[in-house]
């Protein structure tokens, strides 16, 4: 509160998810065994699978608790709050924290912990949700395992693993299915999780400062945008991907030229995330507030929103407003119409 926010001193936390057998532990062992000179504290659910003994490994219980704040989807990982608090007694002995979740875990309570708990926020920052997916089995899992779909929808980074086990056609299919759910995550294809460390760690995906830096992806990987104002084509096939539609998980993006009226936009976004929060997994946006020289950026997880004024709009930069939602059974037309009605 009175203390200044010192983001640079906060310990970054990477959340590693992925369905059973996708290769989470392989990725974790790869991260830990690289000669990167960094020290990690690793929070795991099962001891014994990690072959590295010079790291700080902490066992967790995945105790998911409901907060008593009347918000039905507001669950947090109670054990994570306790462990991060305890790890700070070893401050200076590690550079970053990696949280490995179980294969059936929903990433939301982990992410929400970083929105809800003031002490956790003061000590650490959520860096990114990294999801490992099995190229051979993911398409099947997306049909029969809601957990797997959640993990893909939630991800900032997706490691599409075991690509050596599938044909190019199968790979294109699974990639298309991933993009139907989450067109915004950075996707890396891998065999035995052979991705560069820099591709999965220090992503700053939840950092409001970085929302503008990720803008190119944010704007162009826009396969579901049916908004005709923005003068960029429906480039559905620019990856050579087939366009799939996922029946229950989608992304919705909307854009308007010029400013939004804050007296319309703020109530709209607050109401939307309150009412549809259980269905909205992630959201992000950059908007031009009428009369405000600064860009307003926000991001959210379910019902939780985090937003602040950002850098000023540059001379010659076109003031425009855009929002993105990933979620389940989202009413695309309603969201888009609601957003467009916020125009100043």
């Amino acid at each position: 509160m009175s203390e200044p926010e010192r983001a640079s001193e906060k310990t970054p936390v990477t959340v590693l998810t992925g369905y059973l057998g996708a290769g989470k532990t392989t990725l974790l062992n790869r991260i830990l065994s690289e000669p990167h000179g960094k020290r990690y504290a690793v929070i795991v659910n099962e001891f014994g699978e990690i072959g590295i003994d010079n790291e700080l490994v902490v066992g967790a219980d995945e105790e998911v608790f409901e907060m008593n704040n009347g918000c039905i989807c507001c669950t947090v990982r109670g054990d994570l709050i306790r462990i991060i608090e305890g790890l700070m007694r070893r401050k200076g002995k590690f550079d970053a924290i990696i949280v490995e979740t179980t294969g059936l875990a929903d990433p939301a309570p982990v992410a929400q912990t970083f929105f809800v708990d003031e002490d956790v926020r003061a000590l650490s920052r959520l860096d990114a949700v990294v999801t490992v997916a099995d190229a051979k089995w993911l398409s099947q899992r997306l049909r029969d395992a809601p957990e797997a779909k959640n993990q893909i929808a939630f991800a900032d980074v997706i490691v599409l693993n075991k690509i050596d086990l599938v044909t190019p056609a199968e790979l294109a299919e699974v990639e298309g299915r991933i993009r139907a759910i989450n067109p915004y995550a950075t996707l890396h294809k891998a065999t035995k999780c052979d991705v560069a460390i820099a591709d999965v760690l220090e992503r700053r995906a939840f950092d409001l400062d970085r929302i503008l830096e990720i803008e190119p992806e944010f704007l162009t990987v826009d396969e579901h945008d049916h908004d005709h104002h923005h003068g960029h084509d429906h480039d559905h096939h620019h990856h050579g991907l087939k366009h799939y539609h996922d029946e229950d998980m989608q992304s919705v993006s909307a854009r308007l030229d010029g400013d939004v009226d804050p007296n319309k936009f703020m109530p709209w976004i607050n109401n939307l995330t309150q009412v549809q929060g259980p269905k909205i997994l992630r959201c992000k946006g950059i908007v031009a507030i009428k009369g405000d020289p600064k860009r307003f950026v926000f991001q959210g997880v379910h019902m939780m929103l985090d937003g602040e004024p950002q850098r000023e709009w540059r001379d010659g930069e076109k003031r425009e407003s855009k929002v993105v939602f990933i979620g389940r059974d989202l009413d695309e037309d309603e969201i888009r119409a609601g957003f467009l009605a916020c125009a100043a």
């Binding site: 509160m1 066992g59 219980d61 608790f65 907060m67 109670g78 305890g86 007694r89 002490d119």
Partner: protein, 328 residues
């Protein structure tokens, strides 16, 4: 009353801690600082209680300081040195309690109690036990966990009585007369129960979590951290604080991080997020400065009186510490 009216700063001797002070206590007459890195700092010497670990929690038991570490060990340190009480094989020790030689500790869901003779019993809590406190009478341990507190008789086979209240309960504390049980909660609130009939008491309004609770010597007041003042709840009457507002001592624009009631007088020592320490008289709110704030010292993380109430030891997250000796 926002500015201290008097000062005891000239009576404070600095102590050299050097790292995050996790807890402070007096072992007999000797001030002791439990350092996050695993050592107990006594006058002129260090006892390395947790060579491979960090100290997560600590409690005073007579002239011994009991510490629990992320090495899974429970260690008792006295003037004679360190003695291992238990080894939970690497599971973090999350909470400790002590009374008359009996010890309680928790590691995840497993709660253990060891009586003064050394017989140890264990019990599995429904979820991680975050806070422990012995009741003043009988051999009974209150274990705070998700959705309530279990009152466990280690020497009885009976299922523990559960005081239910929805939410995540952190620290547990029992009034010295045994009438009230109070927990701090994840939701920036305290919850209390009158043990005679289980009546619930909600104590809300904190801007952050309360992680330091201290009963006045007569048991009539409970001083708490977590607000921009030391919030003191009245527990003298049979209904406790129900329907009564708390008092606020030492109001400043900074968060109170540690509180410690004087063992003989109605005075509370208050430590703040900026490293300032003051004494405050509960009766009239009069304030006396013990230590001024310093930008580099971090929050007060440990605060303890000696048995007579003649000396106060404190430590900060940044590794500063000091010893106040009250003028005679």
């Amino acid at each position: 009353m926002t500015e201290p009216t008097n000062s005891l700063t000239a009576h404070v001797a600095p102590l050299d801690a050097g790292e995050h002070v996790a807890a402070a206590a007096f072992l007999g007459d000797e001030p002791a600082l439990a350092l996050a890195g695993g050592a107990i700092k006594l006058s002129g010497r260090d006892v390395v209680a947790h060579p491979e670990g960090a100290i997560l929690c600590a409690v005073l038991d007579g002239d011994r300081l009991i510490t629990g570490g992320d090495d899974g060990r429970v260690v008792a340190t006295s003037a004679a040195g360190a003695e291992e009480i238990a080894d939970e094989k690497g599971k973090w020790i999350d909470a400790l309690a002590a009374r008359d030689g009996a010890l309680g500790w928790s590691a995840g869901k497993t709660v253990s109690a060891r009586d003064a003779k050394g017989a140890t019993k264990t019990w599995e809590a429904p979820t991680t036990a975050r806070g422990l406190a012995f009741l003043p009478k009988g051999y009974r341990l209150a274990c705070a966990h998700y959705n309530g507190v279990s009152l466990w008789f280690p020497n009885a086979d009976a299922t523990p009585q559960v005081m239910e209240w929805k939410g995540s309960h952190l620290d547990a504390s029992v009034s010295p007369d045994g009438r009230f049980l109070v927990t701090s909660m994840q939701e920036n609130a305290l919850h209390g129960w009158r043990l005679s009939d289980g009546r619930n008491m909600r104590m809300t309004g904190y801007p952050s979590k309360t992680r330091s609770l201290s009963w006045s010597h007569d048991g009539h007041w409970l001083a708490t951290s977590g607000a921009e003042a030391c919030v003191v709840w009245p527990f003298k009457e049979k209904d406790g604080p129900m329907g009564k507002p708390p008092r606020e001592c030492g109001v400043r624009p900074l968060r109170v991080t540690q509180v410690a009631c004087h063992p003989r007088a109605l005075v509370v020592a208050i430590g703040y997020a900026d490293g300032l320490v003051m004494l405050c008289r509960l009766g009239d709110g009069a304030e006396i400065l013990v230590r001024d704030a310093s930008s580099s010292d971090g929050a007060i993380s440990a605060l303890a009186w000696d048995k007579q109430g003649a000396r106060l030891v404190f430590g900060t997250e940044a590794g500063r510490a000091g010893l106040l000796t009250l003028p005679a």
